[in-house]
Symmetry: C4
Subunit: 202 residues, 4 copies
């Protein structure tokens, strides 16, 4: 039943797209402005917004990461024709961890300038270690399906690399938080460069 199988993968994508879209939009909910008495003139308003730079930094970092995750998810499922029960559950685990991103982001932005910032940063990177694990699991389940050989090698390397890098970022956060965030950002740059042949139909 090739027709049913295509529908199958389509609905998994629709559900995941819904979760990614809601998660990515909820990230911005944390920016909610509060009108304090001290922000009733233009300079005070600008100053108040600037003073919340940890919130902005955490928002852009998380948005970019979730966007890359969506692009990756897109790349993974693009060649998939058949979705079975283990794939549904592995994808479910990935979604569970993804819905936690707004929480760790809010945690990071609230604690970034406090002594507790290193722990918040470690939890933030730590969630990406788990998410990378879920991606590796999903990839392990899907790679048996027909994929051009060179691409399969590239993607396997792609997902495996994320795990140690995020793990290091988690440990580094406890010691030097900014370095940890740079490591996380470095992963996006690398991954987005690496995803190119997948999407460009090489």
């Amino acid at each position: 039943m090739p027709d049913t199988e295509r529908t199958d993968s389509a609905r998994l994508e629709a559900f995941s797209d819904g979760v990614f879209a809601v998660v990515i939009t909820l990230l911005a909910l944390d920016l909610k402005p509060e009108l304090t008495d001290s922000a009733r003139d233009s300079h005070a308003l600008l100053w108040q917004l600037a003073a919340r730079w940890p919130t902005w930094l955490a928002f852009v970092t998380s948005f970019s990461t979730v966007l890359i995750m969506w692009i990756d998810h897109h790349g993974l499922l693009k060649f998939v024709r058949r979705v079975d029960t283990p794939v549904l559950f592995a994808n479910g685990l990935l979604m569970l961890l993804t819905t936690l991103v707004p929480f760790t982001t809010a945690l990071l932005s609230a604690h970034l300038t406090e002594p507790s910032g290193s722990m918040a940063g470690a939890l933030y990177s730590g969630l990406f270690v788990l998410i990378n694990g879920a991606f590796n699991l999903l990839w392990h389940l899907l790679r048996r399906q027909a994929l051009p050989g060179a691409l399969e090698q590239r993607l396997t390397w792609h997902y495996r690399l994320g795990f140690p890098v995020y793990l290091v970022a988690t440990l580094v956060a406890l010691w030097r938080l900014p370095l940890s965030l740079v490591l996380c950002a470095g992963m996006w740059a690398l991954w987005s460069a690496n995803m190119r042949p997948v999407h460009d139909g090489a």
Copy 2:
């Protein structure tokens, strides 16, 4: 008009996927961190997060249940070619009850360690009794459509079983809350094992 009929089922799925995706993401909204003065260092932060274990437990329990519900819904509609008005309303009832899951989850997590926990637990399981009833109704309306005979038997048993188990879990909650949660978790294990042949195209 086979083309129109397929679109029909597709749009029911798109709407339901949207509701499931938003519900599953809203579950995580309840985790919102609050920066208290006592959580300004790393150990205090970890401790504060650990002290909220009822919230984490309720989050994982509800996420898993809604995920299984989505997988089940997916399995139910996979073989459906035609959607009529009673099906739209039965699905609507299922969606209404599903959007209440974040509410009963928040209720459970707020009351779990209070004397009122048993009542919150009973309301939590009680909602799943109603949801199971809505699933049975939907299944009753859909099973007349062409389905492989063995699968039909299996799914009928599958949905009927849920009703008494959740009913027992509801009553047990008033007396032994942890046992009730174990019963609910047991249902997922059973159902996910049981859904396998549906998705794997047996």
Copy 3:
């Protein structure tokens, strides 16, 4: 370009389904439990939930109305092959008014038992007058496309009837709020009976 035109209608449906799904799920956000000291035992919890009956009534009323709206929208677009700019804007107006339903619902549930309840009820029904107007506009733009003759008559009557009924419900709310809510509920019953031949492919 029949292929492009189908995609066109598909994307209008996807966007509208997304709005309906988020609106219908946000309705339940208003149920958010608050743990007050007086609700720490089981009876107090039940009592507190029961005392919020206006919230429950408003939730079920609005959920049912939005569900019927979705089913109607589904019925309207089912036979549509071509979507032009006026249709996109008429649908946008419908979406704008739809996203206001959680607001008027929260207004009704907060004011139902206050002297201000009649005004809140009038605003609640008044929004449905506007929504019905938007549906009539959309139907006016779409009915020129091929539809079985008997169905066209039925749907025209269907949408026209809603306008005076909701208008009466709005005026009645200022005088007898419960009667107004009964009128609104009567419209669903009538409409869901009336939509049947549309979905059942008569």
Copy 4:
């Protein structure tokens, strides 16, 4: 693989539709009523709602702008057959900026009647300058694909015009806020007139 490529564009649309739908619905969250003691009778309730006119104005303005953005996005991707990595990232940037609209809207409605209103208005229009930039980038990447020649000219002009107009609106906001809002509203009127041939399949 023409089949895979269509899926590709479909999923970009599904994700974007999800973000647009959630953003457009979240705009209404800011309307949340608060039951104050002074609003317990009908006149006080009406008065309280009327006193929040900046919130209503900001809601309608932002809703209309996001709706036009969705219609534009729809028009852009309608003729697209192939989506590559730069397009995914340009679209991601557009989504990031779009999820900020509820924030600048809430900022505008909170500050509109304060001395800080001009700065809030400049930030509000300034976000649309950035969004227009992202649209121009996306259009630049997509226009190489087959499009009827006259349409390409029209759309190029269409997107380029937005940039200086929103830039002027941003500067004007610091001096005359109402004039700035009129400029923003004028853009919708122009754009919606201009999009007509795209959607109507000219």
